[in-house]
Symmetry: C2
Subunit: 780 residues, 2 copies
């Protein structure tokens, strides 16, 4: 195994001493062995009896012949090697499996762990010990967090106090003292058009603290439940022919005013505390991890969900306004009530006014939505696998494009599925017919007929308002996420690059997943370091310590690199190198039935580059690379192409080609309940990306799709004259991808993508002018 820690803060000796004192992990003993014993007694805080302590020392070895007890009792002097033999044991590494006892320092380095250089005096030992407390063990925790999860801070009587150690808020907050509260924030909008401003239910979990604390706010439309049945019923049929679109440009108007200035609820009194509670269960484990470290966890599902008013609008400005209403309340700028009925106001007196938003997928998307309003109090967002423009989620270049594994999904389907008010029979009775009408309207406006960028999608394009962002951004995305495709963070990153905010991006090798429980990567520490600075104003130098880009290597397990940017301009141009210059869309009816009944049947053939079924249905162009290369950014494919009909759609995929043991598609669970979130608190499963022991012959790097009528822009439909050549420029989704020298790149150009595009068997032939077509690849 290999550990990559990015969130360790270099600290000078005087601060080291201060910090050790602040957590009672200090002794002013100057004799090195005695100081070491003092520190070990702290480490073994569960064993206060001296005899038992020495029994524990006898369980550890100092070298090949001595236990730590015999080593110390016989007055051997502590040295650097012995220190790291012991350190490795305290970090739960196993001899002969994880480290070699005769090479402890080399073993530390092999594991990716930092060491000090010398151990001559008590000051060196304090340095070494401080570093050790901030070093990850086998199970993804810094030693100090491991001790905290076993009750260290309780034993030290330091609970429910804000303490920073190495720049990060400590797990001192006691779970049994947590408050579980529900309040209702009043918005200025009326999305269900009942004449009343929508109320939004907010569920708060927060530690007891004498200081005001910040809030980690998750806007999750799924949080109150989903109506799967309604979603299923709304799902669209993807088996249909490509149609010729009328020529023209979509009309996109200014945004409408959604603010309803009539306030309905006048507070009659104020309650010091919230009076309603909420059910208690584990949530996204990163939030639970942060809770014990002094960050409140605030969830709201927003308009259209259980105990809130309004409709699910799937990404429009009303949803954004309902999302930020919660921040406004937390920041003291908006009213909330103790319940939906009585007019009793309640304030977030416990909150220091600083808010962060986190969350994956739709949740992170609403974080981006909120940030692009510039709302006060929102100091930072950590959007994980998030959408930056809904057009880039359900559409692409004039085509309807499905998120991975969800053919037939669209904005209306997601709106229906997350309209959890429909799960409340009494509410459903009153609101449903009105919502069904709204869904019908949405169905028209989203316009699956043309797939064009229009008013509906422009309302749902957060990139329109990027210039309003005041919050710092820490973006997290999987380079293999074909649900929320990499162009979402890619476009956002390009636009914020030169803005005067702090921004970082983490690009991992996962699909649409969470990455907070990998032993190889100190993600939770990074978030804690970031939030300690952004929300608690702790000066920890995080903006300089964290690299701009952290990129997980796609060829090695447990390997995360620092890069200085995503999207390089260092392009090389390649010509198309292929035996055919044309391909057709049509396949046999049997094959069409097989592919369209289950897109996995198509994928099976598609990823077999020699598959006879598809010989005439695609062009494969190969690029041989002479040395190891890292692609970094948008690949541009410029084609001169003609269609035999007045319609045409292209799919383009780039593959890494060659037999290899690649990373597995999904992280492997390596220890259920192995990741401890805190003392007397929840645990999560440790996971890690492993190298597949099975050899695979290729892997998708990136892809894109385009309707040839939209060759100029997604909002412009142009004519296609049959058999006339057009120049078409397609940007593939941006990536960072290492190709070893012995492998090649295969560019595949085809038409129907049975997983993502509409499925049709139209009889169209496409021909490419190879001499006027190129691929441009940006290299690191």
């Amino acid at each position: 195994m290999k550990i990559n820690q990015f969130a360790q803060v270099p600290t000078n000796i005087s601060n080291i001493k201060e910090e050790l004192k602040s957590i009672n992990f200090y002794s002013d003993e100057t004799e090195i062995n005695q100081l070491f014993i003092d520190l070990m007694r702290k480490e073994k805080f569960s064993f206060s009896d001296t005899n038992v302590f020495w029994y524990e020392m006898d369980k550890i070895i100092a070298d090949e012949k001595n236990t730590l007890k015999s080593f110390l009792i016989n007055n051997h002097k502590l040295n650097l090697n012995v220190f790291y033999v012991i350190a490795l044991q305290l970090l739960d590494f196993q001899i002969d499996v994880d480290f070699e006892i005769d090479k402890p320092i080399e073993s530390m380095h092999k594991l990716g762990l930092k060491t000090i250089n010398q151990l001559n005096n008590s000051q060196d030992l304090l340095k070494a010990w401080y570093l050790l407390l901030n070093t990850h063990n086998k199970y993804g925790l810094n030693l100090i967090d491991e001790l905290a999860s076993n009750g260290y801070y309780e034993k030290q009587e330091l609970t429910n106090q804000l303490i920073f150690f190495n720049g990060k808020a400590q797990a001192t907050f006691t779970t049994k003292d947590f408050y579980y509260e529900t309040v209702f924030v009043e918005t200025d909008l009326d999305s269900d058009m009942d004449g009343k401003n929508d109320l939004i239910k907010v569920e708060i979990t927060r530690p007891k603290s004498n200081l005001k604390i910040p809030a980690i706010y998750t806007a999750s439309p799924y949080d109150q439940g989903v109506n799967e049945k309604l979603g299923e019923n709304l799902t669209h049929d993807v088996k249909k022919s490509l149609i010729e679109k009328p020529i023209g440009k979509e009309i996109i108007n200014e945004q409408e005013n959604i603010i309803n200035n009539t306030k309905n609820k006048i507070p009659s009194s104020i309650s010091e505390n919230a009076t309603l509670t909420h059910s208690i269960k584990p949530k996204y484990s990163l939030n639970d991890y942060l809770l014990v470290r002094g960050y409140a966890s605030v969830y709201a599902a927003g308009i259209g969900t259980i105990d809130s008013d309004g409709f699910q609008t799937c990404g429009d400005e009303q949803q954004t306004a309902s999302t930020i209403a919660v921040i406004e309340w937390l920041h003291g700028d908006r009213i909330a009530f103790t319940d939906r009925i009585n007019h009793i106001q309640t304030k977030a007196n416990w909150c220091n006014g600083n808010v962060a938003m986190t969350g994956r997928s739709y949740l992170g998307t609403l974080a981006i939505a909120a940030a692009t309003t510039g709302v006060d109090g929102l100091k930072t967002i950590v959007p994980e696998a998030a959408i930056s423009s809904w057009y880039d989620y359900y559409r692409e270049n004039g085509l309807v494009i499905a998120p991975e594994t969800f053919p037939g999904e669209d904005a209306d389907v997601l709106a229906g599925e997350t309209f959890s008010r429909s799960l409340v029979p009494g509410d459903n009775l009153k609101i449903r017919s009105k919502f069904d009408k709204y869904l019908n309207q949405m169905k028209k406006q989203q316009d699956r007929e043309t797939g064009n960028y229009n008013q509906f999608w422009d309302k749902r394009n957060y990139l329109n308002n990027v210039n309003k962002i005041k919050a710092d951004l820490l973006i997290v995305h999987g380079l293999n996420d074909w649900n929320v495709k990499p162009k979402n963070p890619g476009n956002l990153w390009q636009m914020i690059k030169n803005m005067n905010i702090n921004k970082k991006i983490i690009l991992h090798q996962g699909k649409h997943i969470n990455i907070n429980t990998f032993p190889s990567f100190d993600y939770s520490d990074i978030i804690n370091l970031w939030f300690s600075n952004k929300l608690y104003d702790k000066e920890n130098n995080v903006d300089n310590i964290l690299p701009t880009v952290i990129w997980q290597d796609n060829t090695l397990s447990n390997t995360w690199h620092k890069l200085n940017d995503w999207n390089k301009n260092n392009y090389e141009t390649y010509s198309l190198n292929t035996t055919y210059d044309s391909f057709k869309n049509k396949i046999s009816n049997e094959l069409f039935d097989k592919y369209s009944v289950n897109y996995k049947n198509w994928q099976h053939d598609f990823y077999d580059l020699n598959n006879q079924n598809l010989t005439h249905n695609r062009i494969i162009s190969t690029i041989e690379l002479k040395e190891d290369k890292i692609i970094n950014g948008d690949i541009k494919v410029n084609l001169r192409i003609k269609s035999s009909k007045n319609i045409g759609m292209l799919s383009i995929a780039l593959l890494d080609n060659g037999d290899a043991n690649r990373l597995k598609e999904f992280p492997t669970p390596i220890a259920p309940n192995g990741y401890k979130l805190g003392y007397k608190w929840y645990n999560d499963t440790l996971r890690e990306f492993e190298i597949n022991s099975k050899i695979t012959s290729n892997k998708l790097i990136t892809k894109a799709h385009i309707n040839l009528q939209n060759r100029t822009a997604p909002n412009i439909s142009e004519e296609i004259i049959p058999n006339e050549y057009y120049d078409v420029k397609v940007k593939l989704n941006p990536t960072i991808y290492k190709i070893p020298a012995n492998r090649s790149l295969s560019l595949i150009i085809y038409s129907v993508d049975y997983e993502m595009t509409i499925n049709n068997n139209d009889d169209i032939k496409y021909t490419i002018d190879l001499n006027n077509s190129t691929i441009k690849i940006p290299f690191e």
Copy 2:
């Protein structure tokens, strides 16, 4: 979905009233609507404000037109239909998905839920309400348990008190008050031969209670960690030829005395409480479920594990003695110390002296081991997927047989893997070479050469001592468990059938799994009902209420039946119906390499009954059944067979043959964290066996293996004269299996089973005298 509740206790109206009073869920209101409102206010205990309560009533519907609020406010009178429309909503079922609003009673019954017949007065309503509180909701909990998991008992100020409701201990115990303690029990044995009696570490988690409480004790050799590397290194090569064994009978002596009468530790003082703690994390969720219901959870890993003395002996009488030492301490019959060093005694003053053992696999095995000593205080055991004789785990009829998915494992491998003392470097330094010698001795004694039943295995055969059992038995086993094969519970069941103890058995369709989080089956209730009676002496009639056998149907999802016994004597005899009368062992070298490198390659061909690779390597005999049949018990295959050599081994498998949508092999996770174990406590994943949407053409029902030299007994090696016929009787593993009329049974007779037997390509031909061979099948 369909729910099967076995643990509901029929209760008369006067007890109903008493019980409702005891949990503050009572009103003496006689007007039916007002009584209903009183009860609903209890149900909605989180909403004490009257206005908010009525808002909640508006979320429920009473019929197609009215919310419950409008229904009650307009003084419509509550009736049976309306009651069950509301009940279904309170149980979290979804309209149109789980039930039909115009057929609530029929919907309840379709879901497998009980209803009352009439609702004319307040007494009827109390009956209906009581039944509803004891009815399972969509997420596997009785309504009262759902309310408890949301804080009902805290709100009622009934925490940390023992309360029974419908015969089952209630979730009243507060998790924040739990004690986490470690003590060290002194045994009378010296398994590591260091001259000192072995101390055993015991980790206790227990609720705060003013009454003494019982202990649920889990003896888990895995609990302190496993040394996977050591296990790997010890794993045996299974690629080897069958050898001729010398003729003879194994000598089996009386058991030796293992008791070491020298006590080493003399208590110098007594401590009122334990002084050491232990780390806190979720364990087997059934135990965590029981903890909040007033049962302590006690874990011990036993000899050879971290912080205990001794060697891992894998199932011998020393391990059994170390296992029951913990029970003896809990029962007040043995000394324990607060730590391993000081001589301070500590007593289990909190324990009422009643102990149950639970656990799956090795854990359940040690429960059987303990029960067969007749130790005082052990009132009941619930062995899940447990071994009753280690010979039936690692051997069969004179052959070495691997547990499913673990070729090459044996007793020494498991002993090494669970010898967690080796993970403690200081301890390993001192003990390892001695343990390695012990392992070497074990390796010889387990005798992989002959595979015979000998002294080693006789020491590890708990069936020898079944007559000593005093504890009541609730056995749980998967009929598709080819790790711990069904003959383990089968043999035990046969032997206890006529003993004067209470015994029940649950046979499910899983492999080697836990079954406590299936919404279709009230397993946790059953255990709670059983333990309330056995450990708290609560008179709840459990021995009569629970059927003797609960059997999960193998053709339908969510279906569990009552049967009156396992293993019927209602045999029908069939002759062998096959085109060939002989088969050979040898296959091509290429095929042998393919099969032996990975047994899954062999399984792929084996389960394809027309596979050409195996045409001459097996006999397939088919039995057509004219009607639906249920096999119940041991299938007996009587063969007259000859081998072409002086050696011979047979494998016999019975398959259910015919295309069908069968249950999936593994339960499907349906809701992560969906199963609530208690208030402010852990959650587990809800799982359910689903019907596979993919059609499968056959499925293994049962199997067996035999060495022809052991045709008389596993401990007797006899001569095989080449080409001479012998009568061989083989009992296949017992099962209960339903075969629909349109399917057939296929009996497959072959030699090497690449998953379980040694892998060899010996050139042997087997011939069966078909006229003198039969299959006898016991039908229900």
